[in-house]
Symmetry: none
Subunit: 144 residues, 2 copies
DNA sequence: ACGAAGAAAGTCAAATAAAGTCAAATAGGA
DNA sequence: TCCTATTTGACTTTATTTGACTTTCTTCGT
């Protein structure tokens, strides 16, 4: 079972993230390509296929001199909070704060933002937003 | 995290502003260039790319003898980004984190949640969400 | 007071560095 | 075989660095 180059690069990046303090790394695309003796676009391929948002990663980058690719990991979860309304979301956030899984700074900010951002949505969209936020939050906190 | 010359100059200036009483500094372009062993226009480059109004800075200058560059920091409001897209929202959040107005814990969480929550929206709704979040965030942080 | 000299900052474009895009070629598995 | 994932490289876009040249002030000598 010979692993492809792409697989090996993927593993390498994941190890780097594991070892990082913030679950976040910054790499130079060209340097990594050098390490694996491949073209730089191979790295782009790996990042774009394996480190997508749906797999729990956020990537940002900058071109030009001293450019970089930053990859941040969040852990994916299944969606347990499928039926979520505003109150439940707030209860959920409060509970997380109570359990010290979310600091009150972040929790309060989130409540404010969600409330404000949902104020001009219709019921359908609002419910959708609450669900997305609940899911994203539990992903972020590595619940489930 | 290797930083470019431009990044280092940017940091240096930001520290000076942090330490200043009035959130305002006056520098001599040539002197700063001397400090960093670079050409003066490098400083101009940094100022014009990093200390723009949209990032919450006002710059003024005078040429000739006793010339100077004055940089003033003010609190940004989301209104500056009239049409907010994902990148601008992320810039906004990154900028706030850089200014320590938002801790990196909260900022990273927010980026994740917004990205995740916007993934299954159409362009119209996504843009709307970004704007709402930007507005809500600046409300929360008491900007404006 | 006036004009010339010198001091600073600005402008702009070239050179270089790095990442992204895209599509053709190839490999591997059902 | 046929389909999908991978590999490669030519070309594009964006960011940084540098330096020659321009503009705008201040100062100084007359």
């Amino acid at each position: 079972m010979k692993r492809s180059l792409a697989d090996r690069i993927e593993q390498y990046i994941k190890v780097l993230i594991d070892r990082s303090e913030e679950k976040q790394i910054e790499i130079q695309r060209a340097e990594l390509a050098e390490t694996f003796c491949c073209v730089p676009s191979q790295v782009t391929y790996v990042i774009s296929t394996r480190f997508q948002e749906k797999y729990g990663y956020l990537t940002e980058s900058r071109r030009g001199g001293k450019g970089f690719v930053r990859i941040t990991r969040f852990t994916i979860s299944s969606d347990i909070y499928t039926i979520m309304d505003g109150d439940k979301l707030f209860d959920f956030v409060n509970e997380l704060m109570g359990k010290k899984m979310l600091d009150s700074e972040s929790g309060n900010m989130l409540k404010h933002i969600v409330l404000s951002a949902s104020s001009d949505l219709d019921d359908e969209q609002r419910k959708h937003l609450y669900n997305s936020v609940a899911r994203a939050l539990s992903e972020y906190l590595n619940l489930n």
